[in-house]
């Protein structure tokens, strides 16, 4: 029997994940509202001076997006692990890395992309102009897939572990720092007149690197968890 082609397996997993995600709307909406609330807390905390808020906006929005993207990570493999379908996939002829890539991509579609889309609205609240909003959206679009890819490693490592949620953040947040720096830095560099090109290129480089290495590490971690 010939195994199904890899692209069709990939698409099937992505379609399944998106369908499941769309059914449980709270999983998609909770991180989104979390992002909105966190972004709204900062003006309440530091005061409504528009100059200060404008200065803080890229960092605040990026930190918020980073935390929101992490919220849903814990469930990336957990349900499949609990009901045994992860094991079935590990036994199937399609490589486990393919499943990892598909699930991570679906995670980006369900939790990263909504953040990218809502970020400009939040940016308006902080008084960013159109150009800065464009750079912010672009940086998030390049950065959030990296967050999903790196987060996959943490999700696989903490599978079925006590206190997985908090542990996941402890493992993953230090690894998110470069993405945060270049993501928020892109907006600031553009505002400072240096152009965002360098930062965006570095974000894209991080995406390329993590797209290659992170699924390998995630697969290894999954196999360790499944032993």
């Amino acid at each position: 029997m010939r195994a199904a082609g890899w692209p069709s397996v990939f698409m099937a997993v992505v379609r399944r994940e998106v369908a499941v995600g769309m059914k449980q709307k709270s999983e998609v909406l909770t991180p989104l509202f979390f992002f909105v609330i966190v972004a709204s807390l900062f003006p309440l905390g530091v005061g409504p001076e528009s100059a200060l808020l404008l200065r803080m906006a890229p960092g605040v929005l990026w930190v918020g997006a980073l935390l929101a993207a992490m919220l849903s990570l814990q469930r990336l493999f957990a349900t499949d692990y609990a009901d045994g379908s992860l094991e079935q996939f590990a036994l199937s002829p399609a490589p486990l890395t393919l499943l990892v890539l598909a699930k991570v991509f679906a995670h980006f579609l369900l939790s990263g992309l909504p953040l990218v889309l809502i970020a400009p609205v939040l940016g308006l609240q902080f008084g960013l102009d159109a150009r800065a909003l464009g750079v912010l959206t672009l940086s998030l679009l390049l950065g959030t897939p990296t967050l999903s890819l790196i987060g996959g490693i943490g999700a696989a490592l903490t599978l079925g572990v006590r206190g997985a949620g908090v542990l996941l953040s402890l493992l993953i947040l230090p690894l998110y720092i470069p993405v945060l720096i270049f993501g928020a830095g892109a907006v600031e560099a553009d505002a400072a007149g240096m152009g965002a090109g360098g930062h965006l290129s570095l974000l894209a480089a991080l995406l390329m690197l993590s797209a290659f290495f992170a699924p390998l590490a995630t697969t290894t971690a999954l196999r360790i968890s499944l032993e």
């Binding site: 490693i153 006590r162 402890l170 493992l171 991080l206 032993e227």
Partner: protein
């Protein structure tokens, strides 16, 4: 032609290594003690007072070795972790987990001594300098390793999971370092420059070198003692442990 076969993997067995570590650690501990005494004597009484920084600079004799060791131990730990993943040797994971607390301790020590040094020199406990920030992130990486180790009950699985984490961390360390460095240059002007190495008196250099070696010896001794305890704990069901403890 006769080739001599060295059984490197003989000491990969925890039982054999337990004995070897037991014979080695007192030597390293003694060397660490003697060298630390000599190093501290040089750094407090022999090394001249710095022209710019006065007496306060003397914390460098603890600060520099601690930060060096914190970085180096992470590399060694990741090395053991990768070795364990590749060859599936139990001892490698034990070595990695024996090294982690010492590395975290040195990272913490380096941050504390840095803060104590920074206050009189720059007038601030903390500066968001690239080196300080990456040292802080290194401490976070150590804490993540220790937390993951502590939360997985099966020691073999914990070792392997931590090995993956250590390898991911070691790939990320240079990326983090350079990103923090560029972040730093974007944000602040040259208010404090740590990179400009001050010209040192020879005695200062000697004091520092001796302290570095002392820290090395200490780290090795402590790791060996800790790995002995880990071996005993994990092999407690075996016959040889019962005999060893009698």
């Amino acid at each position: 032609m006769k080739t001599r076969v060295i059984h490197w993997f003989k000491f990969a067995s925890p039982q054999n290594f337990y004995g070897l570590a037991g014979r080695m650690w007192p030597w390293f501990a003694a060397l660490a003690g003697v060298l630390a005494l000599v190093g501290l004597w040089i750094s407090f009484f022999v090394a001249p007072t710095d022209a710019q920084q006065g007496e306060g600079y003397r914390i460098i004799f603890v600060h520099v070795p601690a930060s060096q060791m914190s970085m180096f131990i992470y590399l060694v730990m990741a090395g053991w972790a990768g070795f364990g993943l590749a060859f599936n040797t139990r001892l490698s994971g034990m070595m990695a987990s024996a090294l982690a607390p010492t590395g975290a301790l040195f990272a913490f020590l380096s941050l504390v001594t840095g803060a104590l040094w920074g206050k009189p020199m720059w007038g601030a406990w903390w500066v968001w300098d690239a080196r300080l920030t990456s040292e802080l992130i290194l401490l976070f990486l150590y804490l993540g390793f220790l937390a993951l180790q502590a939360s997985i009950d099966d020691p073999r699985r914990a070792d392997k999971a931590c090995a993956v984490l250590a390898l991911v961390g070691v790939v990320n360390v240079p990326i983090i370092y350079f990103s923090v460095k560029w972040w730093n240059t974007l944000h602040q002007g040259a208010s404090v420059s740590l990179t400009r190495a001050p010209s040192m008196a020879t005695t200062m250099l000697w004091g520092m070198l001796i302290m570095v070696v002392a820290f090395w010896m200490y780290a090795i001794a402590v790791a060996l003692v800790r790995v002995r305890n880990i071996i005993l704990e994990r092999e407690r069901h075996t016959e040889w442990v019962k005999h060893a403890l009698e």
